[in-house]
């Protein structure tokens, strides 16, 4: 509120428009966590958006570099707490590649089932929270009710509801029981009509369509420049899915499609995630049918020492490509742990993509990136 001469309305064409800075976060309802955005505004238009991450930086990489592999395993599920299964999968996968451990087939199938359940749970959280961002309160509670079923199922076999540490080097910590298999089958039957209900109640709503269609366009070029992955990239028309491009686990044996929408707007990213839930249900159904018997844990050494070298494993997490790079010097403790998290790259494009948008549209764009703040800061 500077009372300078320029505010007196002396109209000079060459004079730059008066702007002001608005802080969105670190405590703001739209950021869902401690992310801070410094928005330079011209009226209601965003001219520049500067993300300020780091409020929840926890040095996960450094922690990985001063303890044995097994002791870092629980950390991975805290990076992106909403898709914990995928994150442990990537770390376990990197260690298995290095140590030449092959998990038994039953373990691989169970990993796929639990990972896909986790993906649906994560997308449901996004769905509810995104609608909350857009001012619709009720879908959140519906999504939560569905997610609750997944959490109960996973709690039954892993013992935790959010930060699972279920995968082990060379297998799983314990086998699934019949209750879980029946519960997962029931969930698939339950979830399909629910997705149809979401489409009728939310997706087809004219207010939502007007709110999202053509808003927050992200071009393929922008995605490439900032390394965006996951639904953000697929919403810009690039069929990039780690499960197809760099297949891991038993994904090559399962039949599923990679939903791609070329529009690049918020609606495209929304539809990608809604369609992914459907594809995840397909994967779960097939994996449950094919689930072989046998052990769930391969023989693994008690003291794990990886051979010297550079190992990497990437998975398709709910938010995009998550990769773990391990550099080993032959000891019990890794020399270097590098975590490549999708939310960080997806946030990076926000500054470019949000320029010129109105404030509500910029926040709709932010929500459609589906950021998890600890995943950015790690």
């Amino acid at each position: 509120m500077e009372g300078s001469a320029s505010t007196l309305g002396v109209a000079v064409g060459a004079e730059p428009r008066e702007t002001f800075v608005i802080n969105v976060g670190p405590q703001h309802p739209a950021t869902h966590g401690v992310l801070r955005l410094k928005l330079t505004m011209d009226g209601e238009y965003v001219t520049r958006a500067e993300p300020v991450p780091g409020y929840i930086h926890r040095m996960h990489e450094k922690m990985g570099e001063n303890r044995p592999y097994a002791k870092f395993l629980p950390n991975t599920s805290r990076i992106d707490y909403l898709s914990a299964m995928h994150y442990t999968h990537a770390f376990v996968g990197a260690v298995e590649r290095a140590a030449r451990l092959a998990p038994p087939p039953r373990a691989e199938y169970i990993r796929v089932i639990t990972s896909e359940l986790n993906r649906i749970a994560s997308h449901l959280v996004w769905f509810g929270a995104y609608l909350l961002d857009l001012g619709g309160f009720t879908p959140l509670l519906y999504a939560w009710a569905d997610r609750e079923r997944i959490l109960d199922l996973l709690e039954g076999i892993t013992g935790s509801r959010l930060t699972y540490c279920y995968y082990r080097f060379g297998g799983l910590c314990n086998d699934v029981d019949n209750e879980f298999i029946k519960g997962a089958k029931d969930f698939v039957i339950h979830m399909r009509p629910r997705l149809d209900m979401y489409r009728r109640l939310v997706t087809d709503n004219i207010i939502l369509r007007k709110r999202l269609e053509g808003i927050g366009h992200i071009s393929q070029e922008t995605c490439r420049k900032y390394g965006a992955t996951g639904p953000v990239l697929r919403g810009s028309g690039v069929p990039y899915d780690v499960r197809k491009i760099e297949p891991y686990s038993v994904y090559p044996e399962l039949d599923f499609a990679v939903p791609v929408f070329p529009q690049g707007d918020c609606m495209a990213r929304y539809l990608v995630r809604m369609e992914e839930m459907r594809q995840s249900l397909r994967i779960i159904e097939q994996a449950l049918d094919k689930l072989p018997g046998g052990p769930v844990q391969a023989k693994a050494p008690r003291v794990l020492k990886l051979p010297a070298g550079d190992f990497c494993c990437a998975v398709e997490a709910a938010r995009g490509r998550f990769a773990v790079r391990l550099v080993s010097d032959g000891g019990e403790i890794p020399y270097r742990v590098k975590l490549r998290t999708p939310s960080f790259s997806n946030l990076s494009l926000f500054e470019e993509a949000s320029a010129g948008l109105m404030l509500p549209d910029a926040l709709a764009l932010l929500g459609s990136l589906d950021l998890v703040i600890p995943d950015i800061d790690r």
């Binding site: 309802p29 209601e44 619709g136 709503n205």
Partner: protein, 329 residues
């Protein structure tokens, strides 16, 4: 009238104050309960039977909070705004005839008075946003002004249409014209205006926008503007805004009932008029809540587009059709 006029007015004033306060308090309960049902949860259950005393607990909590005036704000206007937003709503209620006998003051230009005082709401919200000296609040204030100005145009066009049909601005006479069976209600007078149901929908939409209710709650938009114009308000000054929101809603729904749904007129001929007026009023209120808990918020330019490009042309067409029909038949 056995009571002296000043005493009567005083009683009505006290009654209206009590009505506005209690009505707002228990409408919050209704809103929370119905929102709970829409969201498959029970809503408040703890305080009193089915949470019926929850508004009392909420009220006590709000009163016990510190009344905070931010150091950089315009303290006088900041304090004045909540009163300015509530008082006009009360003035409007004074002219509403709740039944054949229950009305504080019958004014022969009641309809004009309701809309005249209703418009002060915009000014008060703008002052609230401006006096807060808060960026979120100022953005919100700017939105409120453009939104309410945009929606007053189709609203008045609809009201003019209704005025042509009724031929009077006296709210009591408007109801009396519609008495004697529901086919005489203005909503069903399709021989005067074939687009009557559309007219009602336009009125209802404009009312939602005028009272800043979802899906047009641009002013509050808590996921963008934290609490919009009310960001800097605490304690009961915030509570007054809350009460005013419901009071304005009651006024909007009451005028809708009077203009379109025959006021206190009973469709069945049983039960007193007050019951029927309340039933119609609260059915409309319930529809408002239903809308709020079902739809996401609109985007601001869509909101303005809806008014200038769709509602205003529609209400103009309605106006022309009605005048032609009235001339012909």
């Amino acid at each position: 009238m056995s009571l002296a006029e000043p005493i009567r007015l005083l009683l009505f004033l006290a009654g209206l104050l009590a009505f506005v306060g209690l009505n707002a308090a228990w409408l919050v309960w209704v809103e929370r309960k119905s929102a709970g049902r829409f969201q498959r949860r029970p809503g408040p259950t703890e305080v009193g039977y089915e949470g019926l005393l929850q508004p009392v607990a909420d009220g006590l909590k709000i009163i016990s909070k510190q009344l905070n005036v931010p150091p950089n704000s315009d303290a006088l206007l900041l304090r004045l705004a909540p009163t300015m937003v509530l008082a006009p709503a009360m003035m409007c209620l004074a002219t509403i005839p709740f039944s054949e006998t229950l009305a504080a003051r019958n004014i022969n230009v009641g309809l004009v008075m309701v809309f005249a005082f209703g418009s002060i709401n915009v000014l008060a919200l703008m002052l609230a946003g401006w006096a807060s000296r808060n960026k979120y609040a100022i953005i919100s204030a700017a939105r409120v002004v453009s939104q309410d100005v945009a929606y007053e145009v189709p609203m008045f066009l609809v009201v003019i249409t209704m005025l042509m049909i009724t031929g009077t601005m006296d709210l009591r006479q408007i109801v009396e014209q519609q008495a004697g069976g529901f086919w005489r209600w203005n909503l069903f007078k399709v021989w005067l205006n074939p687009l009557m149901p559309v007219t009602f929908v336009v009125y209802f939409t404009c009312m939602l926008a005028e009272t800043n209710r979802a899906p047009f709650d641009m002013a509050e938009a808590e996921s963008e503007l934290v609490a919009g114009a009310f960001t800097e308000y605490a304690s009961f000054s915030w509570g007054l805004f809350f009460m005013a929101e419901y009071a304005n809603l009651v006024v909007g729904c009451a005028v809708g009932t009077i203009l379109f749904l025959g006021g206190w007129d009973s469709p069945l001929g049983v039960l007193p008029g007050l019951f029927w007026f309340g039933l119609k009023l609260y059915l409309l209120m319930f529809a408002v809540m239903w809308v709020r808990w079902t739809f996401p918020r609109t985007q601001f330019y869509n909101l303005l587009n809806l008014s200038w490009k769709i509602l205003i042309p529609i209400s103009l067409i309605i106006l022309v059709i009605t005048s032609v029909m009235m001339k012909l038949f």
